[in-house]
């Protein structure tokens, strides 16, 4: 039965992943294909018997990882390298090879149901405690994610940046203030104001605008300066600049 379960799981995982199934399917099946099935098949083939399910489980995981590591060194030699397709094909082949080896050696593979049988036979008090443990673990994770998100959200600031798109500079503004803000963007070439505009951004959103080429007034070095201001903050709030030579 164990061999059949393993084969079915490997086939399901292969099909689901290659067909681009959704993450509710690919997460458990993909993780099983990397971390469980190859080791499960090959430990059965070499009949490495451990009476304790926990011991078997640990050896299955480590054997699967070991096989994946060695397989990856081999897949690297392929022209395509380590892609989703090559991993799926390689791990499935390794799993099937293990199952075939166990069949040829006449080894039976234990089914995976022992832990579930033990759970079913547990007393109500034990089941309650295990359920509480699962809830506590879930609460631990949820509290950590929520508190980390809140900590990040409390760090309020805005971001101003310049990049180049061809020859024209592009200004970027990102609002991480935790609320909507109306910014004032002032662009100066040397000390002369070229343009000024306002932009209202929701929290978490970005604004990008290419700057028109500044009119050439004289030759020599020129500083293109962009200043970002916002209500309630001392001016200038953020400053970026490009220093460049201007030609007649």
């Amino acid at each position: 039965m164990g061999r059949a379960v393993c084969l079915v799981a490997a086939v399901l995982a292969t099909v689901a992943i290659l067909a681009g199934a959704g993450r509710p399917l690919t997460i458990p099946l993909g993780a099983m294909l990397v971390l469980v099935l190859p080791g499960y098949a090959w430990l059965g083939a070499v009949r490495h018997h451990e009476p304790q399910p926990l011991a078997s489980g640990a050896l299955v995981v480590m054997a699967s990882m070991g096989l994946a590591i060695v397989l990856g060194i081999g897949l690297n030699l392929l022209p395509g390298g380590l892609t989703r397709g090559s991993w799926v094909a390689g791990l499935s082949l390794v799993t099937v090879a293990g199952l075939a080896t166990s069949w040829m050696r006449g080894r039976a593979i234990a089914g995976p149901c022992r832990p579930f049988v033990a759970f079913r036979e547990a007393s109500p008090s034990t089941v309650l405690k295990i359920t509480l443990v699962i809830l506590l673990v879930g609460a631990t994770g949820a509290i950590s994610v929520a508190s980390q998100d809140a900590w990040i959200e409390r760090q309020h600031f805005s971001e101003l940046a310049l990049s180049r798109s061809g020859t024209a500079p592009v200004v970027h503004v990102r609002n991480m203030e935790g609320r909507s803000v109306t910014y004032t963007v002032t662009v100066r070439l040397n000390r002369q104001r070229v343009t000024r505009f306002r932009v209202r951004l929701r929290s978490g959103s970005r604004f990008t605008r290419p700057l028109d080429a500044a009119p050439v007034r004289r030759t020599g070095d020129a500083t293109l300066k962009v200043v970002l201001d916002r209500p309630g903050a001392r001016s200038p709030y953020r400053v970026v600049f490009l220093r460049q030579r201007q030609h007649a």
Partner: protein, 614 residues
């Protein structure tokens, strides 16, 4: 205490017929009854409650609310004490011991994730994230990683991580968490199986595993996304295979199966593994009926060592100089003991009681190791077991290294990951003598207190250091606490705007994120540039570095670096007594050939290519 007394190695048929002993009443094959399941569930519930308490402590710390530190220690006590009490107890069965050690590992993995649940922040993790990102981008291994040059040559962890990411659709971060959590959960079980090969006694095996979990890096660093964590269970399985070759007349070639993936995963673990296997070959060779097995083990070990050397020379030759540095430090320290010359971080002086606990834990462990060796010899155990306990003398040796080597504390702490493997067995024998199977009451309390002290010693000497044990407070140029939203935003902008391999100068925190997520090439020789006081000197340093970008954090002028240095290989060797002068940072704005492209408040990014003609 029932350390194996047989003089001949047991036959294969005896593997699954271990007799129920006085300290393992359930044996390894008898099912546990409902009563012991209920007791196990109660202990696991207490451990889970401890995990929740620590997570709430983290949340309180992030919110800057009071009570976080107290709740943290209460949580750690709930995690450790129920496990220690039952694993030390003579009445627990093999299944219960394994389950409790596994429960503790589950909670520790969970808490390592809870510390930073949205991204990796520890510098070593980001170094390996860079290798993983390169594999996902290029679909091939061995792509150069300027951040950690040796990492691409040992891609085992990143291979599994990228396979999980590609097949599940998870992000590289979540795939990495899944990978390291799986190995951290498997490790205590593998350790238990290893120590069961040395003794028929599940109680000693369980206690030895418990003692191993008090190695400083076990609970946190070895639960992070670092390659040594993934290699460790393979080391344990290799050593176990070596012992089985003697105890159960298995072929020595079984060692190759776990050794190979270890060799592809972490350099130091592979070399240490070869050394440990060589030591075991000697022990086996000196044991009754073990001469031919010892010889076969020695030949297998020699072959594996040669393979490791060849692989390293072929794939990552710089590994030899990388590892030689710490070895040279140790030898220099032994030849000229003079204490640490490394800068002591100003902000990181641990509370006095933590130093006392650390010293006590080290002393107790050394005493247990030495006492355990004496106990095993006096009890008339097999020569194999007696000789194996001598390997535990690595622990006192590492204590000497800790004292005399220049960077002794860090070197010894990292080396204890391997040293404790050998020291745990004799130490367990001593604790079993302290609390024999007929003992209870005072002896039980004393043994549990010892285990608790060792566990607390592991927390105070391991990571995170005391000044960032609880998350939430920003520290300049620190480990996890040096990466806040400003630093992350800087890296996001760089990732969106820069092409890969842009050369950037930055502090240790910003460099970690820029190299890890934005695939930048970070400079490790930039500190003189930051300390330059004139424009001419600045231009000279920038021309030498050929940096494309320079990152500046105004908070350097308000805080001294928590780790003692703002920058990698900081030329200011004695450490920073005061924050940087703000005049050192103004020079970037005044240089006519430097552009400021990014500003998020404390952090600015400058384009310096026009200085050197890039």
């Amino acid at each position: 205490m029932t350390v194996s007394t047989q003089e001949q190695p047991s036959t294969t048929t005896e593997v699954h017929k271990r007799p129920a002993t006085e300290s393992d009443p359930g044996g390894s094959a008898l099912p546990d009854d409902a009563g012991s399941s209920n007791a196990l569930a109660t202990s696991v519930l207490a451990v889970a409650l401890g995990g929740l308490a620590v997570a709430i402590a983290y949340a309180l710390s992030r919110a800057e609310a009071p009570g976080a530190t107290t709740l943290y220690w209460v949580g750690q006590a709930l995690i450790v004490l129920p496990v220690a009490l039952r694993v030390l107890s003579p009445s627990a069965g093999a299944r219960e011991r394994m389950a409790l050690l596994l429960a503790m590992a589950v909670v520790q993995s969970l808490l390592a994730w809870c510390y930073s649940p949205d991204q990796f922040r520890f510098p070593d993790e980001l170094q390996h994230m860079r290798t993983a990102v390169d594999i996902l981008s290029t679909h091939h291994l061995f792509h150069p990683n300027s951040f950690l040059e040796v990492s691409p040559g040992f891609p085992g962890m990143e291979e599994v991580t990228t396979a999980v990411a590609l097949l599940t659709g998870l992000s590289p971060f979540h795939a990495g968490v899944v990978t390291v959590s799986a190995v951290h959960l498997a490790l205590p079980i593998c350790l238990f199986l290893l120590y069961r090969e040395l003794t028929d006694d599940a109680r000693i095996a369980g206690i030895a595993t418990l003692i191993y979990t008090t190695a400083p890096h076990y609970a946190y660093f070895n639960a992070l996304f670092v390659y040594s964590a993934v290699a460790l269970p393979f080391l344990v399985l290799s050593v176990r295979a070596a012992l089985r070759s003697y105890q159960h007349r298995k072929s020595a070639l079984w060692i190759v199966l776990p050794f190979l993936p270890m060799m592809f995963t972490h350099h130091l673990t592979a070399f240490v593994g070869a050394a440990i296997l060589a030591a075991i070959a000697i022990v086996v060779g000196l044991s009754p009926g073990g001469r031919s097995t010892g010889l076969r083990l020695a030949c297998t070990t020699l072959g594996l060592a040669l393979m490791t050397i060849l692989w390293t020379a072929h794939r990552s030759p710089s590994t030899f100089s990388y590892l030689a540095g710490p070895v040279r430090e140790v030898l220099t320290g032994l030849a000229h003991p003079g204490g640490s010359k490394h800068p002591k971080p100003i902000a990181s002086v641990a509370p006095y009681w933590e130093s006392l606990v650390a010293i006590s834990a080290a002393g107790i462990t050394a005493a247990c190791v030495l006492g355990g060796i004496a106990v095993v010899w006096r009890q008339g155990a097999s020569r194999f077991a007696r000789l194996a306990t001598f390997l535990g003398l690595t622990y006192p040796a590492l204590l000497v290294v800790r004292i005399v080597a220049p960077n002794g504390p860090e070197l010894a702490t990292r080396a204890l990951t391997y040293g404790m493997l050998l020291a745990a067995f004799p130490a367990a024998a001593a604790l079993v003598r302290l609390w024999p199977s007929h003992g209870a009451g005072v002896r039980a309390a004393f043994a549990t207190a010892i285990a608790a002290t060792l566990a607390m010693g592991a927390i105070v000497t391991g990571l995170p250091p005391s000044w960032e044990r609880l998350p939430g407070r920003f520290h300049v140029a620190a480990f996890e606490s040096g990466i806040d939203r400003h630093v992350t935003a800087e890296a996001e902008w760089a990732h969106d705007t820069w092409s890969p391999y842009q050369r950037v100068a930055c502090d240790v925190s910003a460099c970690s994120v820029l190299a890890g997520y934005s695939r930048a090439t970070v400079s490790t020789a930039a500190s003189p540039m930051y300390y330059a006081s004139s424009t001419a000197a600045l231009d000279q340093h920038l021309s030498a570095l050929t940096s494309d970008y320079v990152a500046v954090d105004q908070r350097w002028t308000r805080q001294t670096p928590a780790t003692g240095q703002y920058f990698f290989r900081d030329v200011l060797e004695v450490g920073h007594q005061r924050p940087l002068a703000s005049s050192l940072l103004v020079k970037f704005d005044r240089n006519p050939r430097i552009d400021r492209l990014y500003d998020n408040g404390p952090i600015q990014l400058y384009d310096t290519r026009r200085v050197w003609g890039g």
